[in-house]
Symmetry: C2
Subunit: 514 residues, 2 copies
């Protein structure tokens, strides 16, 4: 937290103002599916055995202030980021050099890699890949500069199961609605106004990405109708986030189904041409050929409780369906990749983004990231991380996707002292991003909490490409678009994000000139 750059915000509300705002917010949210299934601690399964209850999703009462030029920069470079990760996922040799280091220390990465090797041995039968990405940023104010201009710094780049695209379209519409009915005090009008509140187009844009993949798959080879398959977790409290994408897909004429990751082997099979055939349990006589596998599960080791899930993943990867993402694209999302790109003076970015201007612009969004290995940069990182004083400016992150296991600042040295040194390379050390101080009000589970917050901007991207042929062709990008945004806001006393996990709220931007 650094010096304040924003106007005083949000205002204190009197009782009538708070009631008007909350009543309108609660009714609008349910009327428009800005909702979650209630947590078991809020509504027990025995109270609502058939699951008809829902609650307003955790949201902010006000759109959070966000520097306009930072927001615009995030959008401006999203296609370059899409291109970058599409290039990484196509460069197996490079990716192998990165992953190899992790194989011994990260069992999850190792198993994913072996799924890839198994499919490769047999030969891939699909050369298209779909990426639905989200690049997450925080606004950073360099604490060493007295007149620092705010800039965005990347927190992480998600290549699998990028969530909240469904709800973020709704929450930006909610805040615009609340403004339109004067639920925000009139004296905010100088900066809280409709053209300062960008409408996130994440729902139609992400659905358009899936639809583009569906069309690019071509016609059915098995003579069955085509569908997109959502591979999902159970239970899923954040179900409406996914459903909004499904409904948008349905509206565009694309059929989709949901299958639990644990049931993939029961309801799908490969035919002799490795077409992926799906049968819904409710209509066992009707077969569908899957064009696109959209993973909303499989990003964390928790999704693989038994060997059965690994068998299922291999089964899906072997198929002709387009994967969103493929194994290689999922691995491209490793923190290790982010670290290698963001290590100062790294040569790698230029390899994937030959355009120097573009590469420089992307580079500016990296916060310094160090490996925890025995390279020169790694040894420097180890010094910074084990010293309680210097550790204060850093966060230690596991290579894996998912969040929830980051070690912050003063907690790093004691954590490392208990961890065998051989496991240190499973982590990366990243300079903390120092966001400007700001406040907001969050409602979650019906509780209203006001205070200091930290905002994370996610820019979605949709990218469809053809892989290289292994014989010199570098492949080709067929579709590349930015796909709306998410603002995710959490109390600044917590260090973790993740609205569904219980630490934050979905939000939208009120753009300000700072």
């Amino acid at each position: 937290m650094t010096q304040p750059i924003y106007p005083t915000y949000p205002p204190n509300l009197n009782e009538e103002q708070a009631q008007f705002l909350l009543t309108n917010l609660k009714d609008w949210s349910i009327a428009h599916g800005l909702a979650v299934r209630p947590a078991p601690a809020f509504v027990s399964a025995s109270q609502d055995p058939s699951g008809v209850l829902a609650a307003t999703a955790p949201v902010t009462l006000f759109p959070s202030l966000f520097p306009r030029h930072c927001f615009e920069e995030g959008f401006a470079i999203q296609k370059a980021y899409n291109e970058l990760y599409a290039a990484i996922a196509r460069d197996e040799d490079w990716l192998k050099s990165i992953v190899e280091e992790l194989l011994k220390v990260d069992d999850f990465v190792a198993k994913l890699w072996h799924v890839h090797l198994d499919v490769k041995k047999e030969g891939y039968v699909q050369d298209l890949t779909l990426g639905l990405f989200r690049s997450d940023y925080m606004v950073h104010m360099d604490p060493s500069e007295s007149n620092a201009k705010p800039q965005i710094k990347q927190v992480e780049f998600n290549t699998i199961a990028s969530s909240f695209g469904g709800l973020s379209t709704q929450v930006s519409a909610l805040h615009k609605y609340l403004l339109s009915v004067d639920a925000y005090p009139a004296d905010l009008g100088a900066f809280v106004k409709q053209d300062a509140l960008p409408q996130s187009q994440s729902v139609p844009s992400l659905a358009a990405g899936l639809a583009a993949s569906h069309r690019a798959y071509g016609s059915s080879r098995s003579s069955n109708p085509l569908c997109v398959l959502f591979v999902v977790q159970d239970p899923e409290r954040n179900i409406f986030d996914q459903r909004h994408l499904e409904y948008s897909l349905t509206d565009s004429g694309v059929r989709s189904f949901r299958v639990l990751f644990s049931k993939v082997l029961s309801y799908t099979k490969l035919d002799s041409d490795r077409n992926l055939i799906y049968t819904s349990p409710h209509a066992p006589g009707k077969l569908y050929e899957v064009t696109t596998i959209y993973y909303r599960a499989g990003y964390s080791p928790d999704d693989f409780p038994t060997e059965g899930e690994w068998t299922a993943r291999l089964h899906l990867e072997r198929s002709r369906a387009i994967k969103c993402p493929s194994i290689l694209l999922q691995l491209a999302g490793c923190k290790k990749v982010q670290q290698v790109l963001a290590t100062p003076h790294s040569p790698h970015l230029a390899r994937f983004l030959p355009n120097e201007t573009t590469a420089a612009r992307v580079l500016k969004t990296f916060a310094p990231i160090y490996p925890m290995d025995k390279s020169e940069a790694g040894l420097e990182a180890r010094r910074l991380a084990t010293n309680p004083e210097t550790a204060q400016r850093y966060v230690l992150k596991p290579q894996r996707e998912g969040g929830g296991n980051n070690i912050y600042r003063g907690a790093i040295p004691p954590f490392l002292s208990k961890l065998p040194e051989s496991h240190w390379p499973a982590y990366i050390l990243m300079e903390m991003i120092e966001p400007p101080a700001q406040n907001n009000v969050i409602i979650r589970n019906g509780e209203v909490q006001k205070g200091g917050v930290i905002c994370e901007l996610g820019i979605y991207g949709a990218c469809l490409w053809k892989n290289g042929d292994g014989a010199g062709s570098p492949g080709q990008i067929l579709e590349n678009r930015e796909a709306g945004y998410l603002l995710r806001t959490k109390g600044n006393q917590s260090e973790e994000g993740g609205v569904a996990a219980g630490f934050g709220a979905v939000d939208s931007c009120c753009l300000v000139e700072v």
Copy 2:
């Protein structure tokens, strides 16, 4: 209940089919605001003090079968019905002759009438009236005919607070969605198909009625911005039904506010020109001039617990705002009016609908209705109602709006024996409509109930007119449209409708040729 006319329906579902249907239904309903606030017995106020929870509205799992020609006839005559009730509300002398009889026995009607007289004494300052109507029908099979063709018979005509227009658009979209994702077994395809499932346009059409009134009001006389005012009950569990209309109005650029009936005198005032000025408690400095008062309260004596509500009603009626409905239009909705029109050989219909063909078509939808007074028809009714055998084919209804107090069949004679004869004219006697047997499955509060059902078709109408000048001009209809439909379905063991009151579900039509 008479002989079956429909195919066997709905089908029995196996566990997988039921789960697929219910999961899709529950998710779609919340994602699209087909919801209600949960009943206190389901979720207590202490569990959810800020009211963020909502539940799937009570709905049928399948669209109910409904004869196509009956559905079409309801739509075909709705404009005539609008015209009829607009004419009745403009004919004060005629209405007075009807109401006068009730004044001594129905305190509620008497008080409404006196509000009218008070305003009349001072002089009305608004000559436009808006009606948002719902004409409710059941399919009737004459039990005395062996090959009776199903026809619609009117249950009642609502001139105030016609509800479920918001949810009925959603429920017909729900059933069409469920069909589109093959949630209904494929062998139903012979008759359950998209073009047999009419989409109810009640939300946009009712909102268009309110918007037409808002525009017809003209420009502000008080130099304040204009708004529509929803006068509502507290608490309102069926809030989303109303909110969908508000959001549709907002989308068409018309500002609206909600005010509790009990708070009308706190937040509105009449200026010296009797313009109705509304101030929201959350922004006391901002004044609005009300163009249209839309009553979603005030239709039942329960809404007037103190003299304060009568003062508020007089206050609103005195204003220049267009009322939906005016006192006279509300009174036109008395059962007594329906009875007078439907008494065999009544001359009244011709008075209001001079076109003979139109009048004959409307007449065909009346079930025989008798007064309970001492006229010739009334004496006949008393004989029928007090004889336990003949009473079996009748229902005794109070003149008042609202439902919940009907006396059916065998219960009529003992009821009348306890009621002083002087109070009998507060009721009308109506021949029971005998609907064909049919089944459906209802989900409410998470409980799934399957069995015989009774369906009630409501056709909405929107009508805006100019009253006569009292000096010979009969007035003029400015807008007249049908405005979508509602199908309301209840278990056939219950005799009362009213989904919000806890006895039924919202439904949509699957039109069949019978």
